[in-house]
Amino acid sequence: MTVYYSKDHEWVSVEGDEAIVGITDFAQGQLGDVVFVEVPEAGRTFSQGDEAAVVESVKAASDVYAPVGGTVIEGNQAVVDEPSLVNTDPEGQGWFFKLTLSDNHQLSGLMNAEQYKAYCDEQ
């Protein structure tokens, strides 16, 4: 399993041709208390960069973009039922959706953990 990070503060955990997507701890910290999450249904397909999910905090609404293209296997009903999981466990139980990657090469445009940490330090 390898974890990649996007400039939009999503994480992508990849195993074979399956990926789990969520938002990073940095992102949840910036958003503040999450009160609403909308995740995509199984079977939807995304190109890299498409709007894939919605996350709303007390203050504001944000879109979550697909950091890689693919077909959704499952949206995480647990975060829909309990949006605060995004705050308490953003890179674990607070995941948004699983998908089958359409093109593994898209991963090469993402950051590794060390690069992402440096990217956040600049923000």
């Binding site: 503040g32 009160v35 919605v54 709303e56 203050k59 609404a61 705050n87």
Partner: protein, 370 residues
């Protein structure tokens, strides 16, 4: 964050407490410390300390101050007793709201607190309209704190004995530590509480003393907004602007009886016509069905999908754990229980008109049961 925002006197104090600073009204201000929901709930159950030093604190003095202000405000200032304050509205000639404010009779002058984002325009407008002999002083060296919540009185009375005797919408001079303070029993959360005006040089010591009380935590702008929304209190620049009138905004209580009868204030003719005939639209509260908040700027649409109204504030209510909003809707839709459709983010939401406040006010009115 851009560095263009001016720091307030408590800037370093906020940062030392983990306040996340954001630009607001031209200043860097703390949007939150530990989190908006925790701060919101803490204020409702204990006491929250807010820095509102961005607001404009003005003194209006001179023999004609009362008469001059009465030309711009629909408040009965002649009937306002020493140490009492009123919520009022600075009006333009068409009855539009230039700003909303608090005005206190204090000795030989009026003490007026206006919104931070509008203070420069308010001062220009008032200086232009007030009679020549009236002096308007902008107290730039004065800071303002608010201590809000059911335990605010316990915390503040320990530092400034006597404040517990103040009734809602009255104020007086007190000492907090070695600092002179003007304290009024008022606020913007729907809770009992106080607003505390002190010199900028004293504000850090005063904030430190208040925040040191066990009931008190510092609270950011984020919770200030969610608290006032639950309390049904409008926010200037969002729920009120120069294009809204006091009647449309549901603020007719700010039009005093004597002033309605006598007139003589900016916009009186239009306002009296609206009082008699009803306005075209009204500010109402909405419960939004489902869990997704509907934000400022969302449209209210009719069955054909045409825009007939708009959401001016919207968010999540931490106390009710559901989305709430304020909107301007046509008068025919303004009755409680009316169902409305809202369009936002490419979707339709169902809303239901709901009396405000969403969460009951708990002001300390003298003579009322505690």
């Amino acid at each position: 964050m851009s560095e263009a925002e001016k720091p307030l006197p408590l800037d370093a104090w906020h940062r030392a407490r983990g306040g996340r600073m954001v630009p607001f009204a031209g200043y860097a201000m703390p949007v939150q410390y530990e989190g908006i929901i925790a701060e919101h709930l803490w204020t409702r159950q204990s006491a929250g300390l807010f820095d509102v030093s961005h607001m404009g604190q003005l003194l209006v003095a001179g023999a004609e101050a009362e008469k001059g202000l009465e030309k711009l405000l629909p408040a009965d200032l002649a009937g306002l007793k020493e140490g009492r304050l009123r919520y009022s509205l600075l009006l333009d000639v068409d009855g539009g709201i230039v700003d909303d404010l608090m005005v206190t009779r204090r000795g030989d002058h009026f003490y007026v607190v206006v919104n931070g984002a509008t203070k420069a325009g308010d001062i220009d407008y008032m200086r232009d309209k007030l009679p020549g002999g009236v002096v308007l002083d902008h107290m730039k060296e004065q800071a303002l704190l608010a201590l809000q919540g059911p335990k605010a009185v316990d915390a503040l009375a320990r530092l400034a004995p006597g404040v517990e005797e103040l009734g809602f919408m009255t104020g007086g001079a007190f000492a907090i530590g070695g600092a002179r303070a003007w304290v009024s029993r008022s606020g913007y959360t729907g809770e009992d509480g106080f607003e505390i005006s002190v010199a900028a040089r004293d504000v850090e010591a005063v904030a430190e003393a208040i925040a040191g009380q066990p009931e008190v935590k510092p609270i950011g702008l984020g919770a200030r907004d969610s608290l006032r929304l639950e309390a049904g209190l409008p926010l200037y620049g969002h729920d009120l602007d120069i294009g809204t009138t006091p009647v449309e905004a549901g603020l007719a209580f700010a039009l005093s009886k004597r002033r309605r009868a006598e007139g003589g204030f900016a916009g009186w003719h239009r306002i009296m016509k609206e009082l008699a005939d009803g306005p075209i639209r009204m500010r109402v509260g909405l419960f939004v069905e489902g869990r997704q908040p509907v934000r400022e700027g969302a449209m209210m649409v009719d069955v054909e999908g045409s825009e007939v109204g708009k959401v001016t504030s919207g968010g999540y209510s931490p106390c009710l754990e559901r989305p709430i909003a304020m909107a301007y809707v046509p008068l025919a839709y303004a009755a409680a229980g009316t169902r409305v459709s809202l369009a936002a983010r490419g979707k339709l939401f169902a809303g239901i008109v709901t009396p405000m406040p969403f969460v009951p006010h708990r002001y300390h009115r003298k003579g009322a049961a505690a």
